[in-house]
Amino acid sequence: MSKYFLSLLCALALGVAASAQAGIKVGYVYVGAKSDGGYNQAQDTGRLYVQKTVPGVATNFLENVPENAQVTQAMERMIGAGDKIIFATSYGYLPYALELAKKYPQVTFMHCGGAKLAPNLGTYFADMFEAMYLSGIAAGKATKTGRIGFVAAHPIPQILQDINAIALGAQSVNPKATVTVVYTGAWNDPAKDVAAVNTLVDQGIDVVGMHVDSPVPVIEAAKKRGIKVIGYHFNDESFYPQGWLTGGYWNWGPIMAAVVRSVEAGTWKSQPIYGNLKSGAAKLAPFGPAVDAQTRKLILDKEKAIEDGKLNVWAGPIYAQDGKLMVPKGGVLPRGQVDAMSFFVKGVIGNTQ
């Protein structure tokens, strides 16, 4: 009896929600605020793109869902609300999404950044390290001290990829360039971000990059101290045009829309989708006035080479921090090791854990 009553209640609740739209329902789970000017806003921009370009689709979202068991509940609520596709947009959602994928085989899960699959769970990510390699060239050209700084939230593979790519890019034009890493230990602590930038500048760093949720505090601090900056997640050039070199930003819309269309058409397959510069999912941000014409041309040429498959960021020789040869000349770091990046290349000052 009580079960019957409960399911009736559920049906009522969902009926109201579902009757509003006839098309497929897509849910988005965000780890932070959807308008953070950074990671989450980039994902949400993708959601809005899907909403605009795929006819009849309806989207909903949950913000500020931490990377713990709470995300299971959040996604189950969405499934209860009729969502057929769920974009689990944060890296730490992976184990919970995998668990739920087993429980709800009729729902399609898309996890951002993970390297594990399930029959109804695919992953999507973009090789931002390509844009970071190009930004590293700009940084290597721009630095007068030869020292680049990087403000990182946590030592996780994606962030280690970015740091290594910047170092390799910078060293390709400035062999002595180094990248000094400072972790804030938090995705979202603006005061720590600023303190980190100040610390780096006091060490003689004159170009800084970042990978925290919102790049704005780092950009503002760079502006105050008058150093150059490489952006991330979002095109934030307007915050500091004079010091802006370039950077990388996400363009998730097309990938997401393609996923939604293929699920609707029944052609979706579980696979890792790697967007990149070529596919347009990771983009090189516009150049700031501080980048001269010669450097711009060099970077654009290299961008073309990457897109054409002639240049691989992880091509050897690559040496680790301690001088150990990681990739011999002629070789390329295997995809699996890129995804699970756990070392720093030579010239990076910092810890990997």
């Binding site: 009580s2 409960l6 209640l9 949950l62 990377e67 713990n68 609520r77």
Partner: protein, 348 residues
């Protein structure tokens, strides 16, 4: 009517909760209305999101457990006048210690694993609680500041472990220990689609046991005396130091239990975001309940329901997630205000 003492007592007991709830609903309705959301619909949504179906009840119970234990861990020291804000840190450190047992012998049988994990978790929680207790008893250092600092410390230590030596390589860089084996989980209970585990009824029993221990035994009067008049207590032969240390350690155990349940049954790993601030919500519940172990139980359930409904409110009513924080505060203000106003009015 006026001759019926039972009715008067009942009216007396129910007045504050009822009036408090009314004021809360009025304040919350005003808040929703002012921000352009229909209050009636939202209230129905909250009830549905908290208790509307088996899934919601499961979620609510899952949040009730840590809140309940952390509230108990706040209320017990408060009984002897210690203001501990430390449940959050004790939760983390308990989980850290309990996880050490799991990682040491992941292949151990359930009969060995569960007791060992539980014992270490309780010990860890007790240690994290006893530090401020010892400092207070031996040096007179204020326990409030020590517990606040220890919270941050415990969280950093867990982060150190899961980003560093305890990170499972097969996670591909995701900061967490290996998944706990099934032998390291508290047995599940399920009923009509509602799922929980045995730690929940155990926690309720703990609350009742604390009630009996503190309200119905001499320990309670000893604690009350230590709180109201330490000098008289000393004359009566009740020593401050052992009580202070024991009470803080016991409180730490309660929160440590919440921590290991969170790691073993809820997350299934030790990882950075273990708690979602349950220690602080528990602190709020304890003070809302006036440090009564019995009143903590329903209030923890209410708070668990409110947190559980937060997702539903975002999804179905498009309310920003922060509304839950506002609701918690409004509930708190209403019940506290009505309670205090009533006792003031009665005195006058």
């Amino acid at each position: 009517m006026k001759n019926s003492p039972i009715l008067t007592l009942l009216a007396d007991r129910l007045m504050v909760p009822l009036l408090g709830t009314t004021v809360f609903i009025a304040l919350a309705a005003a808040f929703f209305h002012f921000n352009g959301y229909p209050p009636g619909k939202i209230f129905v949504q909250i009830l549905k999101g908290a208790f509307g179906d088996a899934f919601s009840i499961t979620t609510t119970l899952g949040k009730t457990l840590p809140i309940l234990l952390c509230a108990l861990a706040t209320a017990l020291p408060a009984r002897m006048g210690l203001i501990s804000v430390g449940a959050e840190g004790q939760l983390y450190f308990g989980a850290l210690a309990g996880t050490a047992a799991v990682l040491a012998h992941p292949e151990a049988s359930a009969w060995l694993m569960l007791p060992a994990m539980l014992a270490l978790a309780l010990l860890g929680g007790a240690l994290w609680g006893a530090i401020p207790g010892v400092l207070r008893a031996a040096l007179g250092v204020n326990e409030t500041i020590v517990t606040i600092l220890l919270n941050y410390l415990a969280i950093k230590l867990v982060e150190y472990a899961v980003y560093g030596p305890w990170k499972d390589p097969s996670n591909l860089g995701w900061p967490a220990t290996m998944a706990f084996p099934g032998t390291a989980q508290f047995p599940a209970i399920a009923c009509d689609g509602v799922a929980s585990n045995w730690a929940l009824p155990f926690a309720v029993v703990l609350a009742l046991a604390l009630f009996v221990l503190v309200e119905k035994s001499r320990l309670g009067s000893a604690l009350a005396l230590l709180r109201s008049n330490p000098r008289v207590a000393r004359l009566a032969g009740i020593r401050y130091a052992p009580h202070c240390i024991a009470v803080m350690a016991l409180a730490g155990m309660l929160a440590g239990l919440a921590g290991i349940v969170q790691a073993a049954n809820v997350q299934n790993h030790l990882q950075p975001d273990l708690s979602s601030g349950y220690g602080y919500v528990g602190f709020l519940v304890a003070w809302l309940a006036g440090q009564s172990f019995l009143r903590i139980i329903p209030l923890a359930l209410v708070m668990g329901g409110l947190l559980s409904a937060a997702d539903a409110l975002q999804l179905f009513a498009q309310l920003p997630y922060a509304n839950t924080l506002v609701l918690q505060a409004l509930l708190f203000i209403s019940v506290l205000g009505v309670g205090a106003a009533r006792s003031k009015w009665r005195r006058a």
